[in-house]
Amino acid sequence: MEPVLNPVEHLQRIFGPAINRVSTNHGIPVVHVHTNQISAITRYIHTNEALRGTLSLLWAVDHRPRDVRYELWYLFTLGESKDWLIVSTDLLGEERLFESITPKIHAANWYEREIRDMFGLIAQGHPDLRRLVRHNHWPKGVHPLHKNFPWNSVLQWRQPPGSVDGHFIHGEGVFEVPVGPIHAGIIEPGHFRFTVAGEPIMHLDLQHFWKHRGVEKLFEQQTLSGGVALAERISGDTTLGHSLAYCQAVEMLWEIHVPRRARYLRSVFLELERLHNHIGDVGGICNDTAYALAHAHCSRLKERVMQLNDRLTGSRFLRGVNCVGGVDIDLSTDQFSELVAELEHIEKDFSELEQIIAVNASLIDRFESTGILKKQTAWDHGVVGVVGRASGIDRDLRRDRPFAAYDELSVRVAGSSHGDVRARVQVRVSEIHESIRLIREIQRMLPDGPLKGDRQVVPDSGAWALSAVEGWRGEILYFLMVGEHEQIHRCKVRDPSFVNWPAIQMAVIGNIIPDFPLVNKSFSLSYAGNDL
């Protein structure tokens, strides 16, 4: 029998000469390969039965002025083990072309378009190289993440704003319904272009990035210790998830040992964030079927959790809770008892509501078989988080790559295989109960001790870390590379929305437009986190 090879050995055996070098960073294997082999190697990782890697992140780094080269990084999460594997390749000097992997790996689509916009590196063979982040009125040749592009440049418009180009279907009886960027409710801006023939949607074209604020470039103006406030403001509803992911990355670079109490408190706050968002979403989804009663009750409960946040931390959104090295907010025993008592109330209240919702036939009728995202489609697009779990993608970083205190807690991961709106509601409902259970479990286990650890080292220029947090929406990833004098050289932020948005285009096909708000709400994605 053949010995079981680890993924790196596996690749070395198949692609030996194409691999320049192999290294490990914070336990993550990095395989550096020849540029012309990138497509073949990534495809192999994606399709090989033993590896079955999904593309979790694809990003570029401009190494100037340290080194005159760009580097492309491909992060894969491997099928069975859920381990990470990074493949990287260099574009030396002024080389700006690389081979697109999108024709083989759907999940790379938006990443490669983003890299073209932000760096001016062109993925050759990409099937759809329209602009993504830079809308059409942006001047030509502006690539904000180039190192020689000043962060505070003032852009000169090329043409009046508002023109966007989309993909169109032509034919008799086919018409288009444009929606947005300013919507009817209090929601964030995004442009949706539906192509319909009669009632069912044939095609949906998303145009996002209206809210692009240049977050990644703003990070590069900060030192490692100064980025927390910005991370908190990437997507307000995920304040804690983002700040935690950022802090963890810095802690890796500084080799800080975060004390146990701080790690437990981080888990508590992360579950609180999950709680208020999930409760709000269940209400919001019901509201989109015009079931106002459930919405009223849910928004009342959500408000209760947010007021609880405010009492415990002084912020309804848990701002200022995380700091590099640990947490700034402690919970006394009394506060913890108040927290658990309040959550008991909320859980009871919510369970009663659940019983009312569950027997409402007209509601279930709207939920069932609406907006189905098939498992295969979800896998192809690398869908994560609640949406993925509702479509049978059994991934949860709290269990698969434990962070904070999750290595000592046993998280029961919710899941479903139906992939419709109902499945997504069910996953949320189970996660609400699970969050409350986890907080109760933490109450029993919460250790005493300090709240902050100290830094051990000064990282060299070029050192990097990759951190991941399972926020309430899904996997939040941060790649952080340090430059001279602890200045941030590159910070790649990936909110789960960025990978889940393209999948919504698949989930709505065949549904009617009036069901779109329902499907959209059941995905519940962030525009701010996506647009950066």
Binding site: W151, I182, R213, R233, E303, Y527
Partner: protein, 187 residues
């Protein structure tokens, strides 16, 4: 049915169950704004426009409509279109991509109208100040009448600012004062 009623009775009325706004956050109302707001004293219809916020400001705007804050009780409504609005609430710094839509919305809102800048970002771009992708705070593009600072301002603070705004001297009281003043001189 029985369950629904039982739930409603058990829950009771939750409106108003929130802590008062802290005193240290102070909103500012332009002198002309109160006069403009006279017309909307009894009923104010708002259209919210997000020009690049982090979405926490939106969440607090949404919270205003929940049963706890229930701004409808104050005669404030959220409109689905700027054409139906008396006031625009703008959140976030104005991004390069949202500058056009913001100006369009302002144009389509009928006169007289109020503009309320909600949150630090809308007032001075907050943490996003200076970025290539941001073209300035709201008042660089459209005139702003009311500024509500905070990151994000709590719903209670927003309610306080909106109440203050609409407290102004009404045409009726002015007319009444005038009349009663006249009478006083008459006798």
């Amino acid at each position: 049915m029985f369950k629904i009623l039982k739930k409603s009775f058990k829950t009771g009325i939750v409106t108003g169950q929130y802590p008062p706004a802290p005193a240290w956050q102070k909103f500012s109302v332009a002198p002309t704004a109160q006069k403009k707001a006279e017309l909307f004293r009894k009923s104010l219809t708002i259209r919210e426009v997000d020009t690049g916020s982090c979405n926490a400001c939106e969440m607090e705007m949404n919270a205003l409509a929940n049963p706890v804050y229930d701004i409808e009780r104050l005669g404030i409504h959220i409109a689905a279109s700027p054409r139906h609005a008396d006031a625009l609430v703008v959140t976030g710094p104005v991004t390069v991509n949202m500058e056009g839509p913001l100006k369009d919305v302002f144009k389509t809102t009928p006169n007289p109208k109020l503009v309320i800048a909600l949150g630090d970002c809308a007032i001075n771009c907050g943490i996003f100040k200076g970025s290539y992708a941001v073209t300035g705070p709201v008042d660089q593009h459209i005139p702003v009448d009311v500024r509500i600072p905070g990151c994000p301002p709590r719903p209670a603070e927003i309610i306080e600012a909106l109440t203050e705004l609409r407290k102004g001297v009404t045409t009726f009281t002015r007319w009444f004062k005038k009349l009663s003043g006249k009478r006083a001189t008459d006798s």
